[in-house]
Amino acid sequence: MSEPVAVLMRKAPYGSVYTAEGFRSTMGIGVFEMDLSVVFVDDGVYALVKGQNPAGLDMKPLGDGFPMLPDFGVSKFYVHDQSLSERGLKADDLVMDVEIIDDAGVARVLESCGIVLPF
């Protein structure tokens, strides 16, 4: 069994390529059946907001992809509570059910993974 991996998402979607690349990496790691946690902190939480429609940017809605990831073997999604509340968001505003965790919770998830991939 390989070491557990955390994908750490800290950036907003659309403004840069990070969210899309983080999503692609997550799907790829999931396909290889590795133990994977996806952690959303800071502007990373915006990737999960409902109702994204980037048609005017000629881009695909990134939020729609995440709820499909359990089909690819990825089931551990964590969202930092303060990052949500600072942005006026609640769990209901997100595209999928996630585990909401505090500062120490984020640290524990990262600690439990040998490898942290930052996006």
Partner: protein
């Protein structure tokens, strides 16, 4: 876990964000533009002083020399590339990019 910061503390929130998450005693490494957080007299000085109360803070020598930083906040440990490698050998890395 070793939390690594490579962005200027005055342009980006990376340092403060990492400090919010990093548990006490976990080491912090400043490199690339992250080393500006080590500068004495910068507006970020209070932040790094608070960090030093809870964490060992390291700064990469080549990056402070490249930027002409000579006056560092007391308590920050200057390390060279070998020291960087040692830290990475001893800890899993959380790159707070």
């Amino acid at each position: 876990m070793l939390y690594t910061i490579n962005k200027s503390p005055l342009m980006f929130g990376n340092l403060k964000s990492a400090l919010r998450i990093a548990p006490a005693d976990d080491p912090i490494l400043l490199y690339e533009d992250g080393v500006y957080a080590a500068a004495k007299g910068a507006a970020s000085e209070d932040t790094i002083r608070q960090a030093l109360e809870q964490h060992p803070v390291y700064v990469l020598q080549a990056d402070i020399e490249a930027r002409g930083l000579t006056s560092l906040v007391d308590g920050i440990q200057v390390i060279d590339y070998d020291g960087f490698v040692e830290l990475v050998e001893q800890h899993h890395v959380v790159p707070w990019l």
